[in-house]
């Protein structure tokens, strides 16, 4: 398994059983409706708008950047907590696995920005009159963009722990706790860290989108780069937009150099393959740290504490060892299925009553039509981006010197929140009177095309040298070279990149199909604009309907297009 891939349950080696998908779908949607209902039940007609005084002065940007970064950290912390519990449960319990893994697939396909409005209502209801609620909502939004692939990566690692290492742990009678920290977590580390890093990249987009949000009449602005940007847009200040872009770029760069590179370099020691790896990640921060003496001595205290924590042997008191009543496994199975099925039915009923109260079938068809438009848009743009970027990326990837310089840039661009640049597009569209249905589409792919770029560059760099030599030795050139040599070679990487890009694009459509500049609004036809408009109006049934239909489209898109392509690439085209 290649740990340098965004983990997704949609790519499970075998097709997941269908009835569980449907159940998971119902459960997932029911959960969202519950949140909305819960928020309403708390009787939280949002009082005074929760805003702190924000200023557009450049000097306040560093502080805002700090707040934004802290929000990211908080979210990643919760994502890790979620990963360690959810994925462990799914990996250790067969019954839990049957529900949790398809549910993860559904959650991953739900457009995060779509239900931002629910969560804002919910958290504001939890902490009335305090900005804490708004903070929680923002953090929750980032969390929902990060947690799923991390959890799935961890789950996959837990399921593929090498058998011999497992036997060593059992042979020495490590307790479940000790085994978790000594074997399972270290083994999962490289994949988890890579996925965490990718999640972080995606997270910047959501942090920008979630700091400033209006639901109906309520407007929330938290101090941060995202709110700064939103204010700059309201007041049509181009210079401030540029300042926000620069601040964002600096934050991401610093973040990568100071936090992530050292961690990735450090995580290399957890790789199980015994041959030295060819791509060693270097980090000057880690090198620096490893040369210091005092700093290392200082960290040895928490390291030692962690060691004890990991080796802690939990001995359940004898009294707790309740005598188990022998129940045949099948009976428990049936009870469990009945429970899950009932919960799914209830969830379905909840969604139907909630949406059905004000909306009818005509609305459903309308949203389906919009989703179709958005789907065509996503597909067309992925194709266009592929046609443009694949040849360029191959060219770069085959030249190691160029690739070395371009690769970090592509990864940086993928992390950069493209929504910061959206207002610029609106200015252009308004000025030249362009058709928003066409030109807003470009924004959908704007931030996500880089996933295609850096994956294909990676694939072309890894293309075996002997095959290159064979091709030139036999004079394979032109179209034949593309068709028979390099395209099959990079295809598995391309599919990974394109799939990530497509997932991101669906999410981006909610921001990209409905863009504001001051009082001017430019909007395209599509499910993204539908959800965005409904959010602005505070029309909850429409949001739920839009999000559900979009999620169903995303799932179908993944199952019918990406999974077969991915399976084909893995079976036939994976070299080595």
């Amino acid at each position: 398994m290649d740990e340098r891939r965004i983990a997704s349950p949609a790519l499970g080696a075998r097709a997941l059983p269908n009835q569980w998908d449907l159940i998971a779908l119902a459960l997932g949607f029911g959960f969202f409706v519950l949140i909305v209902e819960g928020a309403r039940g708390m009787g939280a007609p949002l009082g005074a708008p929760v805003t702190t005084d924000l200023s557009l002065q450049y000097s306040s940007l560093p502080y805002y950047a700090l707040r934004t970064t802290l929000r990211m950290f908080a979210a990643i912390l919760f994502s890790l907590l979620f990963t360690f519990t959810y994925a462990t449960l799914a990996a250790k319990s067969r019954r839990a696995e049957q529900v949790l893994i398809p549910l993860l697939d559904v959650l991953q396909s739900v457009p995060v920005l779509g239900f931002l409005s629910f969560t804002v209502t919910f958290f504001l209801g939890l902490f009335p009159g305090s900005t804490l609620g708004a903070e929680c909502a923002a953090i929750f939004a980032i969390f929902t963009s990060q947690a799923w692939n991390m959890a799935f990566s961890f789950y996959q690692s837990l399921r593929t722990v090498p058998r011999d290492l497992d036997e060593v742990a059992n042979g020495f009678q490590l307790s479940a706790w000790q085994k978790f920290w000594q074997l399972e977590t270290p083994f999962a580390m490289p994949g988890l860290i890579w996925n965490t890093m990718m999640s972080m990249s995606g997270g910047w987009f959501f942090v920008v989108a979630s700091e400033a949000i209006s639901v109906g009449d309520t407007t929330i602005k938290l101090p941060g780069v995202g709110s700064y940007l939103a204010m700059a847009i309201e007041q049509k200040r181009v210079d401030c937009v540029i300042a926000a872009v620069v601040a964002m770029a600096l934050v991401i760069l610093a973040y990568d150099q100071i936090i992530f590179r050292p961690i990735v370099a450090f995580s290399q020691k957890f790789r199980v393959e015994m041959t030295g790896s060819q791509t060693e990640t270097k980090s000057f921060v880690l090198d620096l740290f490893q040369r210091t003496r005092w700093l290392r001595a200082l960290t040895s205290v928490p390291a030692d504490l962690f060691d004890r924590f990991a080796m802690w042997r939990f001995q359940p008191p004898k009294m707790l060892a309740v005598k188990r009543i022998p129940v045949p496994g099948q009976v428990v199975d049936w009870l469990w299925y009945a429970l899950v099925f009932a919960a799914a039915l209830y969830s379905l009923k909840l969604v139907v009553t909630f949406v059905g109260a004000t909306l009818g079938w005509s609305d459903v068809w309308q949203v389906a039509g919009y989703s179709l438009i958005t789907m065509v848009r996503v597909l067309a743009l992925i194709i266009i981006a592929s046609l443009i970027w694949t040849p360029i990326s191959v060219w770069i990837g085959l030249r190691p010197r160029v690739a070395e310089k371009v690769q970090p840039l592509a990864q940086f661009l993928a992390a950069f929140p493209a929504n910061v640049l959206f207002p610029v597009a609106v200015i252009g569209i308004l000025k030249f009177h362009l058709n928003p249905d066409i030109w807003l589409s470009l924004l959908i792919i704007f931030g996500t095309q880089w996933y295609i770029v850096f994956n294909v560059i990676g694939g072309a760099s890894a293309f075996p040298n002997d095959l290159k030599e064979v091709a030139s030795n036999f004079g394979v050139k032109g179209w034949q070279w593309w068709r028979n040599v390099i395209l099959p070679g990079v295809f598995p990487y391309y599919v990974t990149g394109a799939m990530t890009a497509s997932g991101g694009s669906w999410n981006a459509s909610i921001v990209a199909e409905y863009v504001k500049w001051g009082d001017d609004t430019v909007s395209a036809h599509g499910v993204g604009a539908y959800i965005a408009k409904a959010t602005a109006d505070g029309d909850y049934p429409r949001i739920v309907l839009g999000v559900c239909v979009m999620a169903i489209f995303v799932i179908a898109f993944n199952r019918l297009l990406w999974r077969p392509l991915f399976g084909y690439a893995e079976r036939k085209l994976r070299l080595s």
């Binding site: 090498p162 011999d164 290492l165 036997e167 060593v168 059992n170 042979g171 020495f172 009678q173 490590l174 307790s175 000790q178 000594q182 074997l183 270290p186 580390m189 020691k269 957890f270 790789r271 199980v272 015994m274 041959t275 030295g276 080796m311 042997r313």
Partner: protein, 433 residues
């Protein structure tokens, strides 16, 4: 010889099986009785599929037997046992721990304090010749050094019994020999804290070199076929006539003609249910040519053949048995002899060889017969592979079904008995023009 020493391990009537398909079971071990006493090295010798590794895991408590009684020092084994440590073929070191931390792992798990664990680990590292490598990570070490870490990790917990699962087979010849000698020296000098060793191996010479007692297992299901004591003193000399005689004797036992009426050929299962190994037709042809050529001239002594081809019995026997199944050769009493058809094959040119091979395949391999018959009967002359795979899975596990089908597919392609298209996963009678 009457052995008065205490039994360390007692297995009586141990069975092990796993379920295939819905209700059927496939036996891995059947009625295994084995006693290991103090102060002896016992070798479990057998081929893949003889369940020798399974016995090891049952003794250690890592696997649970489906039936029978397992005792360690008189106590029934219900889970991983204290006093037993294992050395793995793949070394099974934790790549994120240093040599020292790997060795300390077992002690730390048992709540031995760091202050107490450190000197014990150092002593074990010292004993096994790893001085100076304490802070190295496994990936920095050569294979031989990694396996030394494996030994040190096992010895440091002061086990009564050391289990070794083909510990030298992932190493090159020279390194393996050095490690064997070092280990035997420590054993003979009594410097290891262990009472006995149970060694699993598929190397006949390795078993004769190291063990006081050799238990030969027969395959499918695993049963004890023979047991013999080795009384030569250490260090043993491979060229010693007594040594050679014993090696020949064990080859004889392992190639003994079985009850042919009960089982067609030497492969497990009957008819369609026969599991077949993955052997290339090039290997088959190469083996026939080797046996036909001088010095063997059509009849070869298996140990000599293994030696000249540099093959272990795990590689050699499946090839010989496939030739026997196809009636190109016969095995008996540690010899392999070409049949008239085998001789004709060697003398023929490529087209005749393919024809002959195809004929024998269809005549003697039931699965090939079956595929051909289905293709002949169908008007389209095509059949999906899934159909045959499903049929095989009634008799064997998914993995074995896959291997068996792949072997027969490739043999059928070579013999032009039928064609197979990978992209549509279907068999047909037409070869691409």
């Amino acid at each position: 010889m009457i052995d008065t020493s205490k039994p360390l391990v007692e297995l009586s009537h141990v069975r092990q099986s796993y379920s295939i398909g819905s209700e059927k079971e496939r036996a891995v071990l059947d009625d295994v009785n084995l006693t290991i006493r103090e102060r002896e090295i016992v070798g479990l010798l057998g081929r893949s599929g003889s369940g020798k590794s399974t016995i090891l895991r049952i003794v250690s408590g890592l696997a649970k037997a489906s039936g029978g009684d397992v005792r360690f020092m008189g106590e029934p084994v219900t889970g991983p046992v204290d006093g037993v440590a294992m050395v793995f073929q793949s070394f099974a070191l934790f790549p994120w721990l240093t040599v020292m931390e790997n060795v300390e792992l077992g002690l730390r798990a048992k709540k031995v304090s760091e202050a107490a664990a450190r000197p014990r680990a150092l002593k074990a590292i010292d004993l096994i010749g790893l001085d100076g490598f304490e802070s190295a990570y496994p990936k920095e070490l050569s294979g031989g050094m990694r396996q030394r870490v494996g030994f040190a990790r096992a010895l440091v917990v002061n086990p009564q019994l050391l289990l070794m699962d083909e510990p030298f087979s992932a190493l090159d010849v020279l390194t393996a020999e050095t490690l064997r000698t070092d280990l035997l020296d420590l054993w003979v000098e009594g410097r290891m804290p262990i009472k006995s060793i149970l060694l699993v191996t598929h190397g006949i010479e390795e078993a004769v070199l190291m063990c006081d007692r050799i238990v030969v297992l027969q395959s499918n299901p695993g049963r004890i076929a023979a047991e013999m004591h080795v009384k030569m003193p250490h260090p043993r000399n491979r060229l010693d006539p007594e040594f050679r005689q014993l090696v020949d004797h064990i080859y004889g036992i392992m190639t003994k003609r079985e009850d042919v009426a009960r089982r067609e050929g030497l492969f497990p299962g009957l008819g369609l249910g026969m599991t077949l190994p993955r052997i290339s037709t090039n290997t088959l042809a190469g083996m026939l040519e080797e046996v036909a050529a001088p010095p063997y001239n059509g009849k070869a002594d298996m140990p000599a053949l293994a030696d000249s081809l540099q093959m272990e019995i795990d590689d050699l026997f499946p090839v010989a048995e496939t030739l026997q199944l196809l009636r190109f050769a016969e095995m008996a009493e540690g010899d392999i002899r070409l049949t008239p058809a085998g001789k004709r094959f060697v003398e023929a040119d490529i087209d005749v060889r393919k024809k002959l091979f195809g004929d024998h395949l269809l005549a003697y391999v039931p699965l090939a017969q079956r595929i051909r018959r289905v293709l002949d009967e169908r008007p389209t002359h095509t059949a999906p592979a899934t159909r045959f795979r499903a049929e095989l899975e009634d008799y064997m596990s998914e993995d074995y079904a896959e291997t068996t089908l792949r072997s027969v597919t490739n043999w059928g392609r070579y013999g032009e008995a039928f064609a197979y298209d990978e992209s549509s996963q279907s068999f047909s009678l037409e070869n691409p023009q």
